[in-house]
């Protein structure tokens, strides 16, 4: 390893032993493993439409906070009863210097500044989750612990892997079901299917299941569900499980990402999309459609 790894925060933990750890979001995202570890998001970034160069850049420089990000994170924290403080900024427009200072101060101390309407929205979302019979059972206080950071070494590649579970259920009777909360525009099954493809959620599922199995927290029957919630009234909730074939594809992609990561790490070469001149064709569906138009 000749590469410079991002510095973990001075007060942050240094992880050298596999296990379950309590830490803040920032500490987790700063990657407390000396020499680096691969997260589920990182694994998805390594594969198309991302590439190793993009992954490496984000690993070294982090991601900028975005507005959408804030709302999702806020809802997330409130639903799980953890996460950063939510600050209601009493202004619909953040234009004046006074308000801007207030917003900056909130961000400075790690809180999430929200406009009154957003603040209201986030609280209603959390209430809708608590009203939903299945979702409320998944995240009920006595059923597990929120925001657990898991670190383990991949058997096949020797790569350090990490996962931050929204919720780590305590093993009761029956199998372990790991829930993951996602806020979305539409929780209709077709929209969820598109989100799974676009955001690679089918890679997150087996990644987290691997984490739990690797650390002996759950057995082979461990499974995973997504709790999708719409960001607009009535804040509908849909709890879904991915089918076997989809999860298998996700698992294989994770394998591919792990081996790419190991190779890039060993050679310290993080290629972009391609070193060659690539041929580009229309997406298959458009090609079919436009061919028919011509004929």
């Amino acid at each position: 390893m000749t590469a410079i790894m991002p510095e973990a925060p001075a007060a942050g933990p240094i992880i050298t032993e596999p296990g379950i750890y309590e830490m803040t979001n920032e500490q987790y995202h700063a990657d407390p493993v000396p020499g680096g570890s691969l997260s589920s998001t990182g694994a998805r970034r390594l594969l198309a439409p991302g590439c190793p160069a993009l992954f490496r850049h984000e690993q070294l420089h982090g991601q900028k906070p975005r507005k959408v990000f804030d709302l999702g994170t806020a809802a997330h924290g409130l639903v799980l009863g953890t996460g950063p403080e939510l600050v209601r900024i009493d202004a619909d427009e953040w234009r004046t210097a006074k308000v801007k200072a207030e917003v900056a101060a909130a961000r400075e101390r790690g809180a999430i500044p929200l406009k009154p309407a957003e603040f209201e929205q986030v609280h209603r979302m959390a209430a809708a989750i608590r009203q939903h019979p299945v979702a409320s059972a998944l995240f009920s206080e006595d059923s597990g612990r929120p925001e657990q950071s898991l670190f383990w070494v991949d058997q096949a590649t020797g790569v350090w892997r990490r996962a931050r579970l929204d919720w780590l259920p305590t093993l009761g009777h029956g199998r372990l079901i790991i829930p993951d909360y996602k806020s979305c525009v539409s929780a209709a099954p077709e929209s969820i299917a598109k989100s799974v493809l676009n955001y690679g959620y089918h890679q997150q599922d087996p990644w987290y299941v691997d984490a739990v199995r690797a650390l002996g927290l759950g057995d082979d029957s461990t499974t995973f569900v997504f709790v999708f919630q719409e960001k607009t009234p009535p804040y509908l909730v849909n709890v879904v499980q991915l089918d076997q074939a989809t999860r298998r594809i996700g698992r294989q992609r994770n394998r591919k990402a792990l081996s790419i990561y190991r190779e890039c790490l060993a050679s310290d070469h993080w290629p972009g999309y391609s070193d060659q001149v690539e041929i580009v064709s229309l997406p298959a569906w458009a090609q079919d459609r436009q061919m028919q138009e011509i004929q």
């Binding site: 608590r130 009203q131 019979p133 009761g172 079901i177 909730v237 089918d243």
Partner: protein, 285 residues
Amino acid sequence: MNYPAEQYMPATPAPGRVGQGTAVEQSRAVAEVQAAVMVARQFPRVEAYSISRMSEACKQPALAKRAFYSFPKGSSTVAGETIHLAKELARCWGNIQYGLVELRRDDEFEQSEMQAWAWDMESNERVSTTFIVPHARWANGKAQKLADFRDIYENNSNNGSRRLREMIFSVLPVWYIEQAKDLCTATLKHGGGVPLPQRIAQATSAYQARGITTEQLEDNRGRKVANWTDMDLAQLEILYQSLQRGEVTPDEAFPEQRVTAAEITRAVPAQPGQGSAANQQGGAE
């Protein structure tokens, strides 16, 4: 300019030395083929007999249960007729010869060259296919090399019998095969006259013995035991045979049980003020 042909024509490759046993075997094979063709011409098949032999065979549960295979692959199901049915139909049709030969086993390149063939001696229609079988098995998403001779033999015969089945089916008339399939399906549905509930009980307990729960069977069929039809049971029997023969693993055939709302809510005691009113929220389930 004409030249004697021998000057250009390279000699056909032939083994350098043929042992006496081989020589005898060679001439015997030639005689045997001639005799078989002669006999086939003298005693042509009578189609009526062939059909009645076939329908008799297909009425036997023992054959019907082995006639089809079915296993899930990815999100779809692969299903079809087995080599057992092909061989039985060849026997009933008559005057058909078929075979599977390992032409050469190459340990250096770790592959076997094989040939499967089928021959209708009356019409002299002969089909054959030559193919390469690598000494490897696809498992866990990668090719695993086979070293054990027995494994190689098993692998070759598995790959070969699939080709042989295709060869046999290509010399049999399509209508004959279709008729046989219908009859086998009917036999499976009939189930030897045992009442359906009793057969369902037998099937579920047979699966139980293999560690497969009734819930998994219901997931596989997409309906509750109480609503199973003859056809559901026939499918489960086919799948059971496929499991027994190792064509499919229990994990592939019966993916883990789906998570249900009841399972989640059962695991956590409902808290006051939750549950019944929640349904009005319209959460999709």
